[in-house]
């Protein structure tokens, strides 16, 4: 059982050691192989094939209810596919693993911990020493602009602030794969844009592979290397749009004609996917 896996204690019952990689294998590929998911007797995802290269940023867009959250849940290991599998670094994913952190669409901040303790949670369970932990937590809090709220209880925060705690908590552990489910949905324009720019920088500095669900097409184009458009009922990949904008991408990129062009093309693809789905739904 003790296969030299760092300071963390792993529960053999819960996590298959096979699917937990040492940090150096974190540079692995994330592969979704012909993923079929059925929930409550309905096909939610039907044959998703997607390969996310190491250190690639993929945005997922699509109409509400098309299965974006389900897709992330399957990658995270909460949802078991009917057919197909999720592979990471060449190995099939079974259950949740610390190499795949997730920012949830709904409120996942622990209400019984103060902001600072929440952000420190992942580091603590990974056995990061106290002073190191304090430094990383401060960094993460600064990133989301919550340093001054570190001592508050979550109930004393606004919804957007809680979301930022959630983001900081996931970023603090610097995961090889980061799954984000509409993380900026609840934020105001100003905060959202600031966090987008900062997240873009973080992404470049890190080795992270990111799968990012959003409704905001501009955000998708700005942040990602590739946008995957999903079609609903059942969820499947309708289109893929490469975003060849060079990095680093300062916020001004959004004003360039290239950006605007990509944004318009993405808009048309999403509309086409929805229209096709409506036709299928009506038929």
């Amino acid at each position: 059982m003790n296969r030299s896996r760092g300071p963390r204690d792993m529960d053999p019952e819960d996590m298959d050691p096979e699917d937990i990689d040492s940090p150096e294998a974190g540079a692995g590929c994330l592969e979704l192989c012909s993923l079929h998911v059925r929930l409550g007797g309905r096909a939610i995802l039907a044959g998703i094939d997607l390969v996310v290269a190491p250190h690639e940023f993929v945005a997922l867009v699509g109409p509400s209810g098309c299965g974006k959250t389900t897709l992330l849940g399957t990658v995270a290991g909460f949802v078991r596919p009917e057919h197909g599998e999720v592979r990471y670094g060449g190995r099939a994913v079974v259950g949740a693993g610390p190499e795949r952190a997730m920012v949830f669409q709904d409120d996942a901040v622990f209400p019984w911990m103060r902001v600072r303790t929440n952000v420190a949670y992942g580091l603590k369970v990974r056995g990061v020493p106290r002073h190191e932990r304090a430094r990383l937590v401060d960094e993460a809090l600064d990133l989301v602009g919550l340093r001054s709220s570190a001592g508050l209880w979550p109930r004393q925060l606004s919804g957007g602030m809680r979301k930022r705690v959630d983001i900081a908590r996931a970023l603090a552990v610097d995961p090889p794969v980061l799954l984000m489910d509409e993380p900026y949905g609840a934020l105001d324009m100003m905060t959202k844009q600031r966090l987008q720019t900062e997240f873009e920088e973080i992404f470049e500095r890190s080795r992270m592979t990111v799968l990012f669900v959003t409704h905001d097409l501009e955000e998708a184009v700005y942040l990602s290397d590739r946008v995957v458009v999903l079609a609903p009922r059942p969820g499947r990949v309708a289109e893929t749009l490469e975003i060849p904008l060079p990095r680093p991408r300062p916020a001004e990129v959004k004003l360039t004609p290239e950006f605007q062009d990509l944004r318009r093309r993405l808009g048309r693809l999403v509309e086409a996917a929805e229209a096709a789905a409506d036709v299928r739904g009506a038929a």
Partner: protein, 327 residues
């Protein structure tokens, strides 16, 4: 809500506000917040015509102090009436002594029992607390273990589903038969009776822990055991409080029952001997003592629990109150 408590009304009609009789103020007064009251005072002062001696009269007590005094009065009202009714009924001879003894009779019964009381008290309190402590550990432990292990649920779930709804009091004669009279069986009985509610509530509370919280912990690298310690335990805490308090009260009841039926000492036993002498006053004294003990234990539980659930909003009951008042 009437005009006197409204700052707007106060500034426009200072005279009405100020000269309203104190009784009317206390009668209606859904606790005027401190701020509006000072606004009233200032508005009164700034208006030369309205600033009569009456405006002074109103501030003989700070509003907050007045509110507290009013609440204290209200709280004392019903107990006072009850005691008065008791005195009237018993001294006045409306009810016979063996049904309702006079306060004097109770006092002398208390004095009569003063030799037996300390020992009985120590016995009963000791057994109840021991049994309750065991029941608490057993109940919460069982609930957690059941929630954790499917194997355990499969293995013991059926048996416990049968045992759980069985009234514990019905087991007293059996316990006596099997284990005889003594501390052990009595403590076991209390432990069993209290653990039942606690295990069911714990299992239920664990089932209601937010899946998002568990998933978040898992993606951050927590193992199943760590998730149990850091997510499940803290989330169920506030939901257990009701059962913890309820079973504390039940523990006293079980103690009484066990002692009434099969013990040779303790408060319940003392109560039974008093009853055999048709000494109603003595019985009542023991009842009052049980009541006091149960109240004290309940207060202690609440005090111990408070810092553990500081993160919930429950610490500010005024939030709901103000919401109602605003409406």
């Amino acid at each position: 809500m009437t005009a006197p408590t409204r700052p707007v009304a106060a500034t426009t009609s200072v005279a009405t506000t100020v000269t309203a009789p104190p009784s009317a103020l206390t009668g209606t007064a859904p606790a005027a917040p401190a701020a509006p009251a000072t606004t009233t005072a200032r508005a009164g002062a700034s208006r030369p015509a309205g600033a009569g001696p009456g405006s002074r009269r109103r501030s003989w007590l700070r509003p907050s102090a007045r509110r507290l005094a009013r609440r204290a009065l209200l709280r004392a009202l019903v107990p006072t009436l009850l005691v008065a009714a008791w005195c009237a009924a018993s001294y006045g001879g409306l009810v016979r002594e063996i049904y309702l003894p006079t306060p004097t009779a109770m006092w002398s019964a208390f004095v009569d029992m003063r030799d037996a009381l300390p020992g009985a008290l120590v016995t009963s309190v000791g057994m109840t607390l021991t049994g309750y402590g065991l029941g608490l550990a057993l109940g919460v432990g069982m609930g957690l273990a059941f929630a954790y292990s499917q194997l355990l649920r499969d293995l013991l779930g059926g048996v416990l589903d049968f045992i759980r709804p069985t009234p514990v009091f019905a087991l007293i004669p059996l316990f006596l038969l099997w284990f005889g009279i003594g501390r052990g069986p009595q403590i076991a009985l209390i432990a069993m009776g209290t653990s039942v509610v606690l295990s069911v509530t714990t299992l239920d509370a664990v089932r209601n822990v937010s899946p998002t919280h568990i998933r978040a912990a898992a993606t951050l690298g927590a193992t199943r055991r760590t998730i149990y310690r850091t997510v499940v335990l803290p989330s169920i805490f506030p939901h257990l409080l009701g059962a913890v308090r309820f079973s504390a009260a039940a523990a006293w009841g079980l103690d009484v029952a066990a002692e009434l039926i099969g013990s040779q000492n303790g408060l319940g036993y003392l109560m039974m001997t008093r009853q055999q002498y048709i000494d109603t006053a003595g019985v009542l004294v023991v009842v009052v003592i049980y009541g006091l003990l149960a109240t004290v234990l309940d207060r202690v539980i609440v005090l111990v629990e408070r810092p553990l659930t500081a993160w919930t909003t429950r610490e500010q009951p005024s939030a709901t109150e103000t919401a109602f008042r605003a409406g």
